[in-house]
C-alpha cells in the first residue's frame, strides 16, 4: 500500500483542464503578427470560440440547467471540443453527447452530481483559457 498522499479532486480537475487547453492551443495554434515593430501572438478564432463558450457555460448552466446548456452547445455546434472535454472529465467518455445523454437518462441525484462537478471543473478551464487569452471579444450571447 502506497504511503504517498493522493492529489485532491480539485488538483485532478486542474490537471485535466490544463491538458485540455494545451490540446486546444495545439489544434488551433496562435498566429504571430508584427504590430508596431513588435511580435504579437494572436489566438486562433476557433480557440477563442472555445474559451468564449467555456466562459459563458457556468451561467448558462445556472440559468437553464445542465441539460439545456449542453443541448444548446450541441445544437449550435459552436465548439465540439468543449463538449468532448466535459464528457471526458465528468464521465471519462470523450464524446460530444456523453454528458448530455447521462443527464437525459439519469435521475435527480446524478443530475445534481454532474452539475456540481461540471461547474467546479469549468472554474479551472476558464482560468486557463483566460490565461491564454482565449476569450470571446463580443459580450453578446450568440456564437
Amino acid at each position: 500500500m502506497s504511503t504517498e498522499s493522493k492529489p485532491t479532486p480539485d488538483q485532478e480537475r486542474a490537471k485535466h483542464a490544463w491538458a485540455v487547453v494545451e490540446f486546444v492551443l495545439k489544434k488551433f495554434p496562435p498566429t504571430t503578427v508584427t504590430e508596431g515593430g513588435k511580435q504579437v501572438k494572436r489566438p486562433d478564432p476557433k480557440a477563442k470560440k472555445f474559451g468564449g463558450h467555456a466562459r459563458k457555460l457556468p451561467v448558462r448552466i445556472m440559468a437553464s440547467g445542465l441539460g439545456q446548456a449542453l443541448a444548446f452547445l450541441k445544437a449550435k455546434d459552436y465548439t465540439p471540443d468543449l463538449l468532448e472535454a466535459l464528457g471526458d472529465w465528468v464521465l471519462k467518455k470523450r464524446t460530444q453527447t456523453a454528458l448530455l445523454e447521462a443527464v437525459i437518462t439519469g435521475n435527480a441525484d446524478t443530475l445534481r452530481m454532474h452539475t456540481a462537478e461540471t461547474l467546479a471543473y469549468l472554474q479551472w478551464l476558464n482560468r486557463f483559457c483566460e490565461a491564454n487569452n482565449l476569450t470571446d471579444d463580443t459580450n453578446s450571447d450568440g456564437g
Binding site: P58, V59, M62, G65, A108, R112, L119, L122, Q123, N139
Partner: protein, 330 residues
C-alpha cells in the same frame, strides 16, 4: 457564586426585498456570492453585521431625541457631531459598547449571533411559492429557541424519511392532487406529517404582529413545507437569484468591455433568525440589569420595523422586517 441574570430573545429577520449579505468577491461562477456557513453551505448573515446595524438604528433614535446640535470647539470647528455624541450616550454604550477610541473600557452587554436561515422561498408550480425548511434546520432552531428561553412546538414527527419527499400543511395550496408538490424542477412526493402547528408557532415568534403582516403570517402557516435535509441544501445553494449586472457605454448604449459581473441575492420572503443575549451592563459604575437593558433594546427595535441589511441599499436591496421577541428571564 451567583450568576448575573441574563435576558435573551430571538430576532426575526424577514426579507421584504432581495438580500445580499456579501462575502466579498469570489473566483467561482458568481463574482459576488452571499455569505454561507462553512459546514452546511446554508446562507447566513454575520452577527457582526447585525450588531452594527442594530447599533446604528438605536443610535439614530438617541441622536434624534437627545442631541440637537453639534458640539463645537471655541473656534467654531466641530468637536463632536450629533452622531458622535449619541454614540457615546449610555443608552447606546451600555448595550453595544463604547465608541471605538474607548473600546478597551468595557464591552457591550448585547450578544448577537449570526443569523440562521429558517425558511427559504422556492418557486412552486401551484401556490406560487413554498417556504421550505428541513429537520436539520428545525433541530437547530429548537436548541436556539431554548437558548433564547422561548418555547417551540416539537418537530419530532416532521422528518421526511427520504429525499424528494415533503410534508405539507393541511390545505396547502402548493399540493398537486394531494400527492405531489413541484418545487422548481423537482417533483416531491407528499408524505404523512403536518407542519401547521410548528409553522404557526414560528410565525408567531419571528414575524411582525402589525395588521399588514396578518396575511403573511396566515400564508406562512399554510405554505411552510418540510423537505429532506439534502433537498433543502440543494435549493439554498442552487436556487438563489443570480443577477447579471452590466455597465453601459453612454454613447453607444452597448455594454462596456469587461463590464459584466454576476451577483447573488437571497429572494424576498427569506426568513432568518438570530439569538440575542443581553447581559447586565459591563460598566464599572452602577451597572444596569440585563432585563432593563433588554427592554431598552426592545423598545428601540420596535421603533424601526424595517432595517436595511447587506449590500446595495440604494438599489433597494436588503430591506427586512425585524422583530425582537424576548424570552423568559433566568
Amino acid at each position: 457564586m451567583s450568576l448575573e441574570p441574563t435576558s435573551a430573545g430571538l430576532l426575526g429577520i424577514h426579507a421584504l426585498t432581495a438580500l445580499h449579505p456579501g462575502a466579498g468577491t469570489a473566483l467561482g461562477t458568481v463574482d459576488l456570492p452571499v455569505q454561507r456557513e462553512r459546514h452546511t453551505g446554508w446562507p447566513t448573515i454575520a452577527g457582526s453585521a447585525l450588531k452594527g446595524i442594530l447599533r446604528d438604528a438605536c443610535r439614530e433614535q438617541v441622536k434624534t431625541t437627545t442631541y440637537h446640535t453639534d458640539e463645537l470647539h471655541d473656534d467654531g470647528k466641530i468637536k463632536r457631531t450629533r452622531r458622535d455624541q449619541a454614540n457615546a450616550d449610555d443608552a447606546i454604550t451600555h448595550l453595544f459598547g463604547p465608541p471605538t477610541a474607548q473600546s478597551s473600557e468595557f464591552a457591550g452587554a448585547v450578544s448577537v449571533t449570526d443569523a440562521r436561515l429558517l425558511a427559504y422561498p422556492v418557486r412552486s408550480l401551484k401556490g406560487v411559492f413554498a417556504w421550505i425548511t428541513c429537520p436539520a434546520v428545525m433541530e437547530r432552531f429548537a436548541r436556539d429557541a431554548a437558548m433564547a428561553r422561548l418555547p417551540t412546538v416539537s418537530a419530532a414527527s416532521l422528518k421526511p424519511a427520504a429525499p424528494l419527499t415533503a410534508m405539507l400543511p393541511a390545505g396547502c395550496p402548493c399540493g398537486i392532487d394531494g400527492k405531489h408538490i413541484l418545487l422548481e424542477e423537482f417533483k416531491l412526493d407528499v408524505a404523512a406529517g403536518d407542519p401547521t402547528a410548528w409553522a404557526t408557532s414560528v410565525a408567531g415568534l419571528l414575524l411582525p404582529t402589525t395588521p399588514e403582516y396578518a396575511d403573511t403570517v396566515k400564508r406562512f402557516a399554510k405554505q411552510l413545507v418540510v423537505v429532506h435535509d439534502d433537498d433543502f441544501t440543494h435549493f439554498v445553494k442552487y436556487a438563489t437569484e443570480v443577477t447579471a449586472r452590466i455597465g453601459l457605454d453612454y454613447e453607444t448604449k452597448t455594454v462596456k468591455g469587461g463590464a459584466l459581473f454576476y451577483q447573488e441575492f437571497l429572494p424576498t420572503e427569506s426568513l432568518f433568525y438570530s439569538v440575542v443575549i443581553v447581559n447586565a451592563a459591563r460598566t464599572r459604575n452602577s451597572p444596569k440589569a440585563a432585563g432593563e437593558l433588554m427592554q431598552s433594546l426592545g423598545g428601540m427595535v420596535t421603533n424601526v420595523p424595517v432595517l436595511q441589511i447587506g449590500g446595495d441599499e440604494t438599489t433597494g436591496k436588503g430591506f427586512c422586517s425585524v422583530r425582537l421577541t424576548t424570552g423568559g428571564a433566568k
